[in-house]
C-alpha cells in the first residue's frame, strides 16, 4: 500500500526543485527561479509560466502554501506572494530523495555511477 506521499512519485523535475528551493526559507516566485538557477549552475532555468503552473498544482496538492504577502527587496517595494513548504511537502521531497538515492545505489552496484560524487 502506497502512502499518500509515495503516490505522487516520481516528482516532475520542476516540482522537486521548487520544494528544494523552499526547504530553507520562504521565497517568492522570482527568488525560486534564481535559487534553482544558482544551485544547478544555470543548467535549469525555470520559466515563469512553468513555475507558476507547477506552484498552482503544488498548492492544490498541499505541497506548498501561500503565506501573506510582504515587500520584496529585489523587486522594488512591490508586495510579492511568498510560498512556504508544508510538512506534507517535506515528506514528499524526502520520499523523492529516497527514491533517487535507491536508484543511484542500484546503478552504483552495477558500476554505472561514480563511487563518490
Amino acid at each position: 500500500m502506497k502512502t499518500e506521499a509515495e503516490s505522487l512519485l516520481p516528482l516532475p523535475q520542476a516540482t522537486f526543485h521548487i520544494l528544494v528551493a523552499l526547504a530553507d526559507e520562504d521565497r517568492h516566485g522570482y527568488a525560486v527561479i534564481k535559487d534553482v538557477a544558482a544551485r544547478t549552475g544555470g543548467a535549469l532555468k525555470l520559466s515563469p509560466g512553468t513555475l507558476y503552473r507547477s506552484m498552482d498544482r503544488m498548492v492544490q496538492q498541499g505541497l506548498i502554501r501561500e503565506i501573506s504577502s510582504r515587500p520584496a527587496r529585489d523587486m522594488g517595494d512591490e508586495r510579492r506572494r511568498y510560498y512556504r513548504i508544508t510538512p506534507f511537502g517535506r515528506e514528499v521531497a524526502m520520499a523523492e530523495s529516497r527514491r533517487l538515492a535507491q536508484m543511484l545505489d542500484l546503478a552504483r552496484a552495477r558500476g554505472l555511477a561514480p563511487r563518490k560524487v
Binding site: G29, Y30, S47, P48, G49, R53, R57, D74, E78
Partner: protein, 861 residues
Amino acid sequence: MRIYRLLLYLYPASFRADYGDEMAAIFRIRLRNARGAARIALWFGVLHEVIMNAPAVHWDILKQDLRYTARTLNRAPGFALTAILVTAFGVGANTAAFSVADFVLLRPLPFALPDALVRACEGPRTGAGWGCMNELSPANYRDFKAMSSSFEAMGAFTGSAGNLVGIGEPRRLAITPVTPDVLPLLGVTPALGRVFDTREDDRRAAVISYGLWQSQFGADPSVLGRTVHLDGVPHTIIGVMPRGFYFPTRDAQLWTALTFQNEDYADRTNTYIHAVARLKPGVTFEQARADLEVIAARLARDYPETNAETGISFFRMRENMSPRFRLMLMALGGASLCLLLLTCANLANLLLARAATRERELAVRAALGAARERLMRQLVTESLILTLLGGAAGLFVAAAGVPLFASLVPDTLPIATEPRLDLRVIAFATLFTTLPALGFGLFPAIRAGRRTTFDALREGVRAGGGAKQRLRAVLVTVEVTMSVVLLITSGLLIRAVWRVQAIDPGFRPQNVLALNMALPRPKYDKPVERVQFYDRVLARVRALPGVQSAAFTSGLPMVITGLVTAVEIPGREVPRARRDVVSHRWVTPQYFRTMGIPLHRGRDVEDGDGGDRAWVAVVSASFAERYWPGQDPIGRTFRHLDDTRTVVGVVGDIKVRGLERTSEPQIYLPAAQAPVPFPGAFDPKDLVIRHSGPGNALVSAVRQIVRSIDAEQPIADVRAMDEVIAGETASRRGQLQVLGVFAVVAILLSAVGIYGLLAYTVSQRSQEIGVRLALGADPARVGRMILADGMRLALFGIVPGVLGAYAAARGMSALLFGVAPSDPATFVTAVAVALLTVFAGTLVPAWRAVRLTPMSVLRTE
C-alpha cells in the same frame, strides 16, 4: 510590457488573476537586465514559454473540471442518466429522421449535375404532377426529341425482364433497355469497359450493374467480352457500372441497347417507353415544359385520332416519387423537430431544477474564494460533458432508428434502399441541445456571481426565485403542447392505417403462395408450348399434398399494377378512347378459386377454353356496370386487341392498383386463347397456389417440379399474398411506429417534467404548507391545491397543443385517408391520455404535500 500583458491573456483568467502580476514583475526585471541581442532572445523565450505553457494550464484545469464533473454526476446519477437519455433520444431521433428526409428529399441524385435531369412521358392534356400517367410511343418520343430545343440530350428507356442463363443458377433479372443517349447523359462513367455507342452495333451488348457483377460474376475483372444468355439470346458484356449507380430504379441490374425500327414508329398508341433528358445550360425547367407543351399541342392537331387526349407529363428526376412519401417524411421531420424542442425544454428544466439545489454549493465555493470565471468554466464543462455523452448515445439511437425508416424510402428513385447516418446532422442536433444546456447550465453560476454570496447562504434551502419557477412552468407547458401535438397526429394516422387495412382487396390473400416464372422468348414463342408448360406444372402442383388449387396469371394484384388496354364495345363509336381502359389479365382455370375472388354470375375460365373454341372473357362487376348497366352481361361481346370476346362470367372487383388507389375495371382472358403475336409482358408468369398447410414447405417441391419440366427455367420472387397486402401499408406502419414512439416518449417526458416541477414546488413551500396545516387547514384541500397547480399547467399546454395538432393534421390531410383532421374521437382520446399522464405526475407531489405535518417541517429547518 503591454505585449507581455496581452500574451498573458492566453492563460485561463483564473490563472492570470492569480499569477499575472507576479509573472509580469519577473518579466520586467528580466527586461531591465537584458540588452541588445539578449533582449530579442528574451522575447523569443517568452513566446515559446507562453505557447507551451498556456495550453498546459488549460489542460490542467480541464482535468480538474472533468474530475469534479465525474464526482458531481456520480453523486446525482439519476439526474445524469436522465439528462443523457433525454439528450440521446432527442438527438438520435432527429438525426435518424433528418438523415432519411435529406436522403430522399434533398440530397442530389448520384449523377453529374443532377438538377438538370428530367423525365417525360405521356400525360393528360395539361398534366404536371409526378410520375407517368402513361408511357410514350416511339413515334411521339421521336417527335418530342426532334422538335424540342431545350435539351442537351434526350434518351428513352423501357422496363423489361429476362432469364439469365449460363452463369450459376438461372436467374430472373430486371433489364432496362436504353437508347445509346441514356447512360452518357446521366454523366456516370462505367467502372469497367464502356457504355452503348451510336457508332457501334450494340444490339447484342449488355452493361451490368456493380451488384450483378459482384453476385453473378464474382467481381471478375475479365468479365468484359463474356457472353451471357438473356432469354436464350446471346449478349456480350461491354461494361460494368460503378457501385451506387441505379437507373431508373434501384432494381435495375442490367442494361441492353434499345433501338427502334421503322415499324416501331407506325402506331402512336403503342406506348412503352419513358424519356429522360438533360436540360441545356441556362434553360429552366419551366421553359422546357412550355416547349414540350407546345409540341404536344401540335401533335394533337396533326394526329387527332391518336393524340387528341395526349399531353406531356414532365417532371424533375429528383421528384419521381409519390407525394405521399414526401408528406410522410415532412410529417416525420416536423415530429422530430417537436421532439427536439421538447428535449431542449426538458433538459433546460432538469438543469434549472439542479441549479436550484446547487445554489448553496456554488455560494459556498464562491465564498471560499473561487472566481466566478472558474465556477462558470466548471459548469460549462459539466453541461458539455452531459450533452456530448448524450450526443454519443444519440448516435446509437440514430443507428438503431434509421433501418426503421427504410420503408419510407420510395422505390421510384434511383437511390439505395437504406440511407446512411448523416454525421453533419448529428453534429447539428448535438449543438442544438448544447445551446440550452449551456444557457441553463450557466444560469446558477451567473446568479452565484451576481448576488452577494451571503444571501444565498442565509436563504438556505429556500433559495431560488419566482422568476425561475415561472420559467420552469413555461418550459413544462411547452412540453405538454408538443406532446399533445404528437399524440393527436399519431392518433389520426393510426385511424388512417386502420381504415386502409380495413379495405377489402376483393380477394382472400390468406394461404395463397405466389411464385414468379416468366417464360423466355423466343424459346416459348409458340402458344402451344406455353400452354403445355402451364398444364404440366399445374397438374403436378395440384397433386401436391396440402394444395387446394393452383393457377397462372399474367400479373399479381398490387404487384403488377399496370397492364391496361382499351376495349371497344360494338355499337359505340369511341374507339380507343382513354376512358375505355381496363386492366387485363391472362389466366388459367382455377384462378378465381385460388385467389378467392367471388364469382357473381356465369362461369370460370375452363380447361376447354382453347384456341379452337369461341373466345371468351370473364369480367369484373364494375366492367359489366360500366357498359351494360342494369342488364345481364353474359353473352355480350367486346373487342380487345382486335379480337372479339364473349362474356361468360362476372366476378367481384379487386384492388389491382393497391388499397389506396382507384383501379380500372378488370377483364380476365383464358391463357390458351392468346392472339399471335403476343407480347411477353402479357404471358401468364405468376403461379398462385391456395394451400392448407404451411406455404414454405411447398416452395422446394414446386422448384423441383419446374426443374424437371424445364431445367433452365428460374423461379423468382416467392411471396405470400398476405405479405403483399401487408406491404401496401408498410410505409404507413413504418411512419406510425416512429411517430408512436415519439408521442409516447414525449408524453412521458412531460409527465416527468411536471412531476419534477411540482415536487420542487412542494419542497419549496413545505414550510408554508406546514404552517397552514398547523393553523387548521384541511390536508385534502392542500392536496387539491397541488393537483390544481399541475392540471392548470397541463391545460395551458393542451390548448395550444390541440390547435397546433389541428393545423398539422390539415397540412397532412392527404395522409389521413379520409379521417377528418378534426376527428373528435382522436382529439378526445389524446387529450384524455395527456391529462391522465399529467395527473399521474402530480399525484406523488400532492400526496407528499398532504402527508406534511407541522412537526416534520419544523424539524428540517
